[in-house]
Symmetry: C2
Subunit: 338 residues, 2 copies
Amino acid sequence: MAALAGVSPATVSRSLSGQGNVSAQTRERVRDAARRLSYVPSPLASGLASGRTRTIGVVVPFLTRWYFGSVVSGVTRVMEAAGYDVLLYHLGSAADRDRFFARMPLARRVDGVLSLCMPLTEDHTLALRALDIPLVSVGSRMAGLPSVCIDDVAAAHAAVNHLINLGHENIAFVGGIPDDPGFGFVSSELRLRGYRSAMGAAGLAPPSALEVFGRYGIDGGATAMARLLSGARLPTAVFAEYDELAFGALWSLRRAGLAIPQDVSVVGLDDHEMAEVLDLTTVGQDAASQGSLAATMLLETLDGRSDTPPTDIVLPTELRVRGTTAPPRRGVGVVPST
Amino acid sequence: MAALAGVSPATVSRSLSGQGNVSAQTRERVRDAARRLSYVPSPLASGLASGRTRTIGVVVPFLTRWYFGSVVSGVTRVMEAAGYDVLLYHLGSAADRDRFFARMPLARRVDGVLSLCMPLTEDHTLALRALDIPLVSVGSRMAGLPSVCIDDVAAAHAAVNHLINLGHENIAFVGGIPDDPGFGFVSSELRLRGYRSAMGAAGLAPPSALEVFGRYGIDGGATAMARLLSGARLPTAVFAEYDELAFGALWSLRRAGLAIPQDVSVVGLDDHEMAEVLDLTTVGQDAASQGSLAATMLLETLDGRSDTPPTDIVLPTELRVRGTTAPPRRGVGVVPST
DNA sequence: ACTGCTCCTGGAAGCGTTTGCAGACGGGGA
DNA sequence: TCCCCGTCTGCAAACGCTTCCAGGAGCAGT
């Protein structure tokens, strides 16, 4: 390459990277040669020499859940535009996570890391910190790290208060539990806490039998709802930790022949693209924006424009009332309707 | 590192990689030292020196569509287990795609590439080939490349024949069109072709007004269906190119007050996780397996176990009859019911 | 004791960039 | 005319590994 353009490798590097002084004429000559050879500087060599890899790592627990797909999509959009590459680590289970931290493939390979809602132990967080590269957390706040997320407690409040305002008293919580113990999401806890405190604030202390859990995803929501259906007393309303669980709950309810929202109201959290189709009342969040914002924050830190100290950005959520919520049928759930 | 273990860098490399002869005792000593320092060999340096990066590139047009999320999920599972890293390139538009090929970030950075259904021009395919690294195509067959996919034509046949066997004659096709011209999927074409040939084989040559298109995703399905709803004569059945379009179509139909399947039958293709919830009849495919199979094929080639010549694996599809299809109401769609 | 092995280890040459340093060149001010 | 300075370019030393090659040690067979 250097030979074809008739210059030294040093000049090739300067011409192509735009760093340092190169005469316009030389630069053009080098660019021409590069084009002719379809030469691209080796990212490996470049990274090794410069210490910057122009690559970031993204760590996700799921890919097929709406929230994560949307966030990653937002991230890649920004990174792609900035000329950064994205290394994707899909850590679906505690075992995956342990292998990941044992191997630490991120070390000296990425300039920064985006951790999406990853449930991490103390040790793992320390291991990430030890990499000594910028880190941004998306979807859950991590001590001392910049983050982008929503206020999960407030979002849960909004959902539950909506039900309470409609007159519901007997409100259940449908949550997801991890496949592996110790792999639970922070946001799950927060949403549960939000549910409890909203209930408490309304003077409705729900029995723990109204808090049911299933595996992540639609099936989990269906299973959890089935548990409620087999309970002593059917709630008049259900708040699901996120929309996919709500879809599962709806499914169970329909199969049970119950009318929604007449018999049971359901509210979710996310505003998944299917929520509108299923006419699900939900508290909406903008996942793709979370991704692009986090990516932008990370880039700013990487480019040294880190004049901003680590910030926690909290994106707004908004209740979207649709057809799965309504006032409870009078008497239903309390005494058999006459 | 070498110092701590009291050996040369060469021995460190051999001990950690397992290549070459090292006494068990030395190896243990090196491993200990590595553990103590939490030392991980620099992937960049290692790649530069050895020529193997232990990284593959995955190119996808979408992340938030079920099919792609599932495939990528299958891919990462296999790659993670094999100790490979995955570089994700999300090329959502023709512009993204062009930028990608201009920058060619894959060059000298990955050992292999997985291309998921990417609509590529001749030039782009050549550019990929020029990288001279193993390439596997998922979801669409590419000339001369190993691939993993389903038989789209046959799958469409299965869907349409199901409708025909139920007695439908007036069957519409709902398809997705790309945001950018020249960014259309091969599988879309094949499914359309399958629709036409199944119709033709039954002696039902549909007017082109029965082939409607919307943007990718649920919205697109809804828009396309709306077009049918505003047409001169409502079909008694609809085949949607993939489930998300079918969901959109169902949505439109419901909003229009039509009963499913009494007024209109709908069949999709994918068996998206929501299909069961919506009770959608569909032709199922296993996207995650496609991803893991393709990843395995790629790994085999990379590890030199490429005793197998480039293969095209065709995974089976299966009609899953659910509640959105039924025989047409007699007379409906032909003359107003009396 | 010497030869010929095998097994283990270290030296050193890359891999393809980036970047600090220095030299060459040319122009403007004293 | 001389000197200084700014601009452009090349040299060469990293960057942190892998791998070829050679040498040393230990051992068995003559």
